[in-house]
Assembly symmetry: C2
Homo-oligomer: 155 residues x 2
């Protein structure tokens, strides 16, 4: 006979709880390495800036928010010492946002931490299950909302 399917609302809850547990753990670890002020939103922004820098408008487009919102986030990241603004010699309007060493540090550390976190999932589920989980998700998530285009939808 048919297996008793759980109610549909459990799926989003589980996805969210899984995501959240990873993000919470990430920020616990980051805080333990001196990055106590950085918040999930900042991580997405730093990722959007990337190693080569970007303009505020570009960041906004990558994140799916207005350039004004991106500008505010850059203000905040600059105040925290994660990025710095530099004039663009080829375009006097543009300000190039670049990661500081501290900003780069949070990015590389995040990558390490995520790798370690994934490894703990492999420990508990096995590599096959984790790969399966990833391929399953990859086939159902609409590619347009991936990889960035993240914030703003919650509030």
């Amino acid at each position: 006979m048919a297996e008793a399917d759980p109610p549909g609302y459990e799926l989003p809850l589980l996805l969210f709880a899984g995501f959240r547990s990873l993000i919470d753990e990430l920020h616990r670890e980051l805080a333990a390495h001196g990055h106590t002020e950085v918040r999930p939103v900042h991580g997405f922004a730093l990722q959007a800036i990337g190693p080569y820098g970007a303009s505020a408008s570009e960041i906004g487009r990558r994140l799916g928010v207005s350039k004004q919102a991106a500008g505010k986030t850059v203000d905040r990241l600059a105040a925290l010492g994660y990025v710095e603004r530099a004039d663009d010699p080829t375009d006097a309007r543009r300000k190039l946002i670049r990661l500081t060493p501290r900003g780069l540090d949070v990015l590389t550390r995040s990558a390490e931490i995520f790798d370690r976190l994934r490894a703990t999932w492999v420990d508990r589920l096995g590599a096959a299950q984790v790969n399966q989980l990833e391929t399953s998700l990859r086939t159902v998530v609409p590619p347009t909302t991936f990889p960035v285009d993240v914030p703003g939808w919650f509030g």
Copy 2:
């Protein structure tokens, strides 16, 4: 040799994209049924209120936010017509927050929509895969952060 594991950051991104795609679709459908103003946060709050009602402080505790924040959310939900405040005859301090028919409607509709959404995942992945995905997640998410205790972490 070892299979090439994806970088660790892909896992949270996939989880989030999966969650987000479901929530986005939910709110598209709700909007199509007249619930155009309700936001994801409100859904969690309505769920926390439940069919028997709750006080604002209780809602705050269930959601993991302050009673003041819960009170503001209740204000908004009341303005949108999803809940109403009633005096508690057994405790003159308390105000009982109850779902209006409209509030109940959004909840029952959400349940239907989530069921339908899960069914589309089953169509694309097969029942076994979806069940597998759910059991995998169930084993790795810390039970303390489940099922509620949701908002406030992002901002």
